[in-house]
């Protein structure tokens, strides 16, 4: 193993103290003089034409400075170039309960709230669509006129020969799966503060500065430029600390544009912070997905073909939808070797908040279906679930049938380690009644190989500046949203330069200061910004090394950068002899010999000439380099290689990545057959992260992903009634609390990717998708029922147990519970309804054939 000094060692995040002391600033913690507060008026109707908006009464309120409506910023925008269908404030129609209609800016929140009530909006109600399959049948009152059948986008991909594949199979199974809608629920509600500064030349408002809770400062700068009709150079976006994103801040959220438009109209800085309910409306979460999956296997376990039809309930706007639906098909590939794939995907518009990107973007729900069905197929052919997965491994390096290039592939080791640690072989099938083990695998991209805005520009650029003080300043556009990307950047720079972490300072995500980085999404930052950092650091190192070599009268190749020293290989510097720990730990102060003398370079060099020529401190080497060559800066850029950018078919741009992470998991659960309650006892999760740069952080990301997957598996679900969200609160939405969170054992697998920085790949998303099917498969192992609809709430588990007991086929995905009346089913709601006699659904196990006697009590 290579001997690293900084990477591979667990370290507290560089901003950890700011977080644990409360000193760190998130967007809502900023105030500027004269700042006004904005509050947004939201639509109470799911689908309605706006006939008229009268803001005059609101404007008349003392303390109100402006009321903004759609006409104040009519340019459309959207995160995808093909999906520019949003406006800061809508002016023709409202398309979901919570759609943005107007914004009041006032001197206080209370006044703004009061004024909101005085805005009169005249709506003409339209029929609304809440179920994607119903929505696809629509002929009139379309959600968007240019989208017939309310279909945002559909794709039909065929790779290989699926028909032949299914003909060759010994076993073919088909099933419908339904994964209900979940949302990010990041702890920090979205917030934006926008402020114009006066131009000294024109005397009018000029440059705009926006502080925002965003994962994508550069895209925000771009969209603000489109809507405000201002050059990008006149807009500065600053990302302060962000309190979690998970994809929910990976596109431009309405308040970000509204705040800027409002600041322009009110001629004063404006801050808007969402309430928690507004966060749920802003949403952009994982769409409810209906998945019809068909898989064929041979008796030896080999998968011969897969056919998937995926319908996603996308909500009212495009958002990332086109990408989400493509991912759901593309990432059928690159996990296992599947020779034949047919994919039919429909992204459908409905009158609900827009869905977008959420951790494990696009792959999660399909992976739940795929891994569940594979488990069932393994049972059919009498094969251990871990074995069937091993029979379908890829043989990398390879290119999958759908054009994805796979190089490093730690899946076999992930499977092996989870089996070993969980005691799978000894314990599976030998647990007490009601307790079971389940396994599943997943994978994810380490950054999309193609950026949203198709171009050849680098996806990440990093600049490094080192000055005579010996401080290393790294300028990166990468957005730390809590995952630790600033720490990763500092570690890579420190590793390359052989200096201590404390010497490195990160300036990140400020479009005025930092070079363009396309943002924190698709798990791209470690791979791409990490590579850019690596290149930038190597460039500066080369120049320092040249100067040091000249000073030491040796070849560049003979130098070692380590422990804040530049050392001729084989020699041991005195400082290191005396106090190794002090040198590596205390960094700058330990270089002793140049105390306070750094600025007087020549004097110092004179001193140095008297010293042995086999080592220099980092500062001395830096000063020498600056003396020889002037300013010491380095730049590194990363763009994914052409070979990793995918095939040529329509929609081939989504799915390709320079590298994929892999995960294998085993879940141990017990099921209470009386209550239907599922308890997860432990999850073993092996994740191939290429190389763990900061193991404690990598483990934290893996645990967090698995935990979030468990939330989707057991409790989390957005519940709708006629387009109204019934649970827009953190308690009602039910993310797992500490008492419901099991032990998760992260197992790090390092496959060392040939193109990753020090071999690293993503670690923050890939594990999520395996958790849901691992739990589903464990439930089957425990009580013998297959759950095809997530989350596996007690009601659904009971319904499945009931169906099993009465030996009736109960398709749980036909509506939510076919035994519930339609008005309950359409919004994904309660399963506890107990109808009477003939009112029960035809498939209900409890239905009696004879109608219930009139007036009789059951």
């Amino acid at each position: 193993m290579t001997d690293f000094s900084t990477i591979g060692k667990s370290t507290a995040m560089v901003d950890a103290a700011r977080k644990t002391t409360g000193a760190g600033k998130y967007t809502d913690d900023f105030s500027v003089p004269g700042m006004l507060i904005g509050k947004i008026l939201h639509s109470p109707y799911p689908h309605a034409r706006i006939r008229r908006i009268d803001t005059s009464r609101a404007e008349a309120v003392e303390g109100v400075k402006a009321v903004v409506v759609g006409q104040d910023a009519p340019n459309p925008y959207g995160i995808l170039p093909v999906g520019h269908d949003e406006h800061a404030l809508t002016f023709d129609k409202v398309r979901y309960v919570g759609d943005n209609v107007a914004c009041v800016v006032a001197v206080s929140e209370a006044i703004a709230e009061k004024a909101l009530e005085l805005i009169d909006v005249d709506y003409e109600l339209l029929p609304a669509y809440f179920d994607p399959e119903e929505s696809m049948k629509a002929q009139t009152d379309l959600i968007r006129d240019d989208k017939p059948g309310n279909v945002e986008k559909q794709y039909h991909h065929v790779f290989g020969d699926p028909e032949k594949g299914f003909a060759e199979a010994d076993q073919v199974m088909e099933a419908r799966f339904l994964a209900n809608e979940v949302t990010h629920a990041a702890m920090e509600p979205h917030c934006t503060l926008a402020s114009f500064e006066l131009d000294p030349h024109t005397g009018r408002p000029g440059r705009l500065t926006v502080w925002s809770s965003t994962q994508v400062p550069y895209y925000l700068q771009h969209k603000l430029s489109l809507v405000l009709e201002m050059p990008m150079s006149q807009i500065r976006v600053i990302k302060p600390l962000v309190g979690g994103g998970f994809g929910g801040k990976s596109e431009v959220i309405p308040l970000e544009i509204i705040a800027a438009v409002a600041a322009r109209k009110a001629q004063a800085p404006v801050k808007i912070t969402y309430t928690r309910e507004e966060v749920f409306w802003a949403h952009r979460g994982r769409p409810r997905s209906i998945i019809d999956l068909k898989t064929g296997v041979k008796n030896d376990g080999r998968i011969t073909a897969v056919q998937a039809r995926v319908v996603q309930d996308g909500g009212a706007y495009c958002s990332y939808g086109v990408v989400t639906i493509l991912y759901s098909g593309a990432l059928l590939g690159a996990l296992y070797d599947i020779p034949n794939i047919q994919f039919d995907g429909y992204r459908v518009l409905t009158n609900k908040p827009a869905c977008g990107a959420m951790r494990g973007h696009g792959t999660v729900n399909v992976r739940f279906a795929f891994e569940s069905l594979l488990d069932e197929l393994a049972g059919k052919i009498g094969m251990d679930p871990s074995e069937i997965r091993c029979r379908n491994l890829l043989q990398p390096p390879c290119i999958t049938v759908n054009g994805l290039r796979v190089q490093s592939y730690g899946l076999p080791e992930c499977i092996e380690k989870t089996i070993e640690r969980s005691g799978w072989k000894q314990r599976k099938g030998h647990l007490p009644a009601g307790r079971g083990l389940g396994m599943a695998c997943s994978h994810y991209v380490s950054g999309a190989a193609n950026s949203i805005i198709r171009s050849d520009m680098p996806h990440s650029t990093v600049n490094i500046k080192i000055d005579r003080d010996g401080g290393v300043v790294v300028y990166t556009g990468a957005s730390d949203i809590g995952q630790g990307s600033d720490t990763m950047t500092a570690q890579i720079a420190a590793e390359v330069l052989g200096c201590s972490l404390s010497r490195v300072r990160i300036i990140a995500a400020d479009t005025d200061l930092t070079p363009i980085d396309i943002g924190s999404y698709s798990s791209r930052v470690t791979f791409m910004a990490g590579n850019a950092t690596l290149l930038a650091a190597e460039e500066v190192k080369k120049r320092i090394a040249a100067a040091a070599a000249k000073k030491m009268n040796c070849a560049v190749e003979e130098l070692d950068f380590r422990g804040d020293l530049v050392v001729k290989k084989g020699s041991v510097p005195r400082a290191v002899e005396t106090d190794q720990a002090e040198v590596t730990h205390a960094g700058a102060s330990a270089s002793g010999r140049v105390e306070g003398q750094i600025l007087r370079g020549s004097l110092q060099q004179k001193r140095q000439e008297e010293l042995p020529n086999d080592w220099m401190t980092f500062e001395e080497a830096v000063v020498a380099a600056i003396d020889f060559q002037g300013t010491l800066t380095g730049t590194g850029s990363y763009a994914p290689p052409q070979e990793a950018r995918g095939g040529k078919h329509h929609g081939a741009g989504v799915g390709p990545s320079p590298a994929y992470s892999y995960s294998a998991q085993v879940a141990e659960v017990s099921v209470d057959e009386e209550t239907g309650e599922v308890t997860v006892h432990k999850i073993w999760a092996a994740h191939d992260c290429g190389r763990a740069l900061n193991p404690v952080s990598v483990e934290g990301q893996v645990i967090g992903s698995v935990w979030m997957g468990m939330g989707q598996a057991l409790t989390e679900e957005l519940i709708w009634k006629d387009g109204v969200l019934m649970n827009p609160g953190l308690l009602e939405y039910r993310t797992p609390s500490s008492v419901e969170s099991p032990e998760i054992e992260p197992i790090l697998v390092e496959s060392v990717d040939p193109e990753g920085p020090f071999g690293a790949k993503e670690c923050s998303e890939g594990s999520l998708a395996a958790t849901i099917p691992a739990i589903a498969n464990a439930i089957y192992d425990a009580v013998g029922v297959r759950l095809h609809e997530s989350p596996f709430t007690p009601e659904r588990v009971l319904a499945a147990l009931r169906a099993k007991k009465h030996a009736k086929a109960l398709n749980l995905t036909e509506g939510v519970d076919p035994t519930a009346p339609k008005s309950f089913r359409e919004h994904g709601g309660s399963l506890s309804y107990r109808g009477k006699g003939a009112k029960r659904h035809a498939l209900d196990a409890f239905r009696s054939e004879a109608p219930a006697p009139a007036g009789g009590a059951e």
Binding site: K19, T20, A186, G729
Partner: protein, 164 residues
């Protein structure tokens, strides 16, 4: 609404403030006193990001009237660090990965402070039960348990060292 003059004691300092009688403690801390370490994560005491200590008891400041805290000793996250250094708990939250995005962290630290004040040697179940009043969306809580245990161990070691 007509403002009232109140005296609020926060982190050992007394502040004289003119506030509306319906002003929430969280808003007064954040907006009047610029103590922005205390966070708002929800609006209805669901999440615990706004947890502060009122006379040593962990309370959610988003649903408390500031005026009702007159005469009580309020401690926020800004009042936690010791002699300008991180406490053992703050340090271990950083070392163990107990804070990722950090937004919920001040609330958790306050909750754990109050737990440890009552129960200096909490069991795993005690820690879980105490932490269940706060929500985190990043960590799955596991590395927080490790942080609490590490902090308890560090404190014990320090106490043993001081006793010698």
């Amino acid at each position: 609404m007509k403002k009232e003059l109140i005296q609020l004691r926060v982190n050992g300092r007394t502040h004289e403030l003119a506030i509306a009688p319906n002003a929430l403690l969280l808003d007064v801390l954040r907006q009047e006193l610029q103590l922005t370490g205390t966070k708002r994560g929800c609006d209805d005491s669901s999440c615990g990001a706004c947890t502060v200590l009122v006379d040593g008891v962990a309370m959610m400041s988003c649903t408390m009237l500031a005026a009702s805290c007159e005469g009580q000793e309020i401690t926020t996250i800004e009042g936690v660090s010791e002699h300008g250094s991180l406490t053992a708990l703050q340090k271990s939250f950083g070392d163990c990965g107990g804070a990722q995005c950090g937004y919920c962290t001040p609330g958790f630290i306050m909750t754990v402070q109050s737990l440890l004040a009552e129960n200096p040697d909490p069991s795993e179940a005690d820690i879980r039960a105490a932490l269940s009043s706060n929500l985190c969306r990043c960590t799955g809580y596991q590395q927080m348990y490790e942080a609490v245990r590490a902090a308890v161990a560090a404190e014990r070691q320090a106490a043993a060292g001081a006793g010698q």
